[in-house]
């Protein structure tokens, strides 16, 4: 057994063990800790599979932001946890679900491990057309050039999800401030961290956006780091979530998809089709799309974590 295989096998066993523990443990907080650990370990797995863009996204979204989202949800559910215990699924249902999940996993594994010959892939075509887009990273090229339409729709879906979260607010509080007011911490340590880390995080987020053109990275990963830094500032009591009725906030939220849509529509005029880029102008247009997109996604993710408005303005 080679060294690399041993490491990969150990990593796989560890991921499975943490996942099983996360499902089996009773306390919600422990389950969220398990989930975040599982996400961070999964990022390591993606690195071993040489999918570095996916690893970045997994570490950022899959564990960081989603973990905080789950913690906030668990906190909101705590008053009703005793009552909900009566509705826990019985052993038979759990068993059937486990069998079905195992069947699906086995099916996916079979698809991957028993390849048709040659395995269908567009990877060569994607890489071969990179020079026309002016990009060096094929993942970014897929997201913002070959399948830009999908990316545009995904960003619109994000804004719609935020609207869904806001709709949970009571009528009287529509347009109010989301989330609880975190008191300014007595703890010098947290204030210290929240003053020192966010500037670094902002630089790293912008760096991720910029480097995504040629190396793994991109708008989504950069914006997740920006969102995480903003949530940190709010948690330390150094800042407060803005009221969601503010015009400037709503403008920031839609700026990304709107610029994306505008560039797409201009494709009718300056190139042949919707979301087509004229030859030689692909990269500047992609950067023009990515910058407001990063701000919008960062704001959307931060507000998604903050939750529905809970306080009047």
């Amino acid at each position: 057994m080679t060294l690399a295989l041993a490491i990969d096998a150990g990593l796989a066993v560890l991921v499975l063990a943490v996942a099983t523990w996360t499902i089996a443990v009773r306390k919600t907080f422990a389950a969220v800790v398990g989930f975040v650990s599982y996400g961070l370990l999964l990022a390591l797995v993606w690195v071993r599979l040489l999918a570095v863009d996916v690893a970045l996204t997994e570490a950022a979204i899959g564990s960081g932001v989603t973990g905080v989202l789950l913690l906030a949800a668990a906190a909101r559910l705590r008053p009703t946890e005793k009552g909900a215990a009566a509705e826990q699924p019985g052993a038979a249902l759990c068993f059937v679900t486990a069998i079905l999940s195992a069947v699906v996993s086995a099916g996916l594994a079979a698809l991957v491990l028993l390849p048709t010959n040659p395995a269908p892939t567009l990877a060569q075509a994607a890489v071969a057309n990179l020079p026309a887009t002016g990009l060096g990273n094929s993942v970014t090229a897929v997201l913002l050039a070959y399948r830009a339409w999908d990316t545009l729709l995904e960003k619109v879906v994000l804004v719609l999800a935020l609207l869904g979260v806001w709709s949970l607010a009571p009528d009287a509080l529509w347009g109010g401030r989301p989330g609880p007011r975190y008191p300014a911490q007595r703890d010098g340590a947290l204030v210290f961290l929240a003053q020192l880390l966010p500037p670094v995080g902002i630089v790293v987020g912008i760096y991720m956006l910029w480097v995504g053109a040629n190396e793994p990275g991109g708008a989504f990963q950069g914006s997740t780091i920006l969102a995480a830094m903003w949530i940190l500032v709010v948690m330390a009591g150094l800042g407060d979530a803005p009221p969601v009725g503010r015009r400037w906030l709503r403008l920031v939220l839609v700026a990304g998809p709107m610029v994306f849509l505008a560039v797409g529509l201009s494709g009718f005029a300056i190139a042949e089709a919707f979301l087509a880029y004229p030859v030689g102008y692909a990269k500047p247009l992609i950067i023009l799309i990515e910058v407001p997109l990063t701000l919008s996604i960062a704001a959307t993710l931060g507000l998604l974590v903050a939750g529905p408005p809970e306080r009047a303005e």
Partner: protein, 97 residues
């Protein structure tokens, strides 16, 4: 020169790995949460520092080396403050409680 750098890398990373081992042994054997926290944040951070030190000669030029050092500095900052926060959460009354 390159051989000397390689030997330096091997030595530094080996010592770093030893500190990771020490931290994990402490994590497994210490009696309560605060001492385990101590083992984790002190020994593992030192292990990371030595690993970064060992990887500096192998880094891709000056920007690569600077990135490694900044990762270590961030880990130090995060480790120091998070250790304080966790300790305060475990024992809100302070050292005498």
């Amino acid at each position: 020169m390159s051989l000397a750098l390689d030997i330096f890398t091997v030595v530094a990373i080996s010592v770093g790995a030893f500190f990771f081992l020490a931290g994990t042994v402490g994590l497994l054997r210490f009696p309560d949460a605060l001492t385990r926290l101590h083992a984790l944040t002190k020994a593992d951070n030192l292990g990371l520092g030595l690993v970064v030190l060992g990887l500096l000669p192998q880094a891709a030029g000056l920007p690569g080396a600077l990135k490694l050092v900044s990762i270590w500095l961030l880990a130090q900052l995060a480790g120091a403050t998070v250790a304080q926060l966790i300790a305060r959460a475990v024992r809100p009354g302070g050292p005498q409680a």
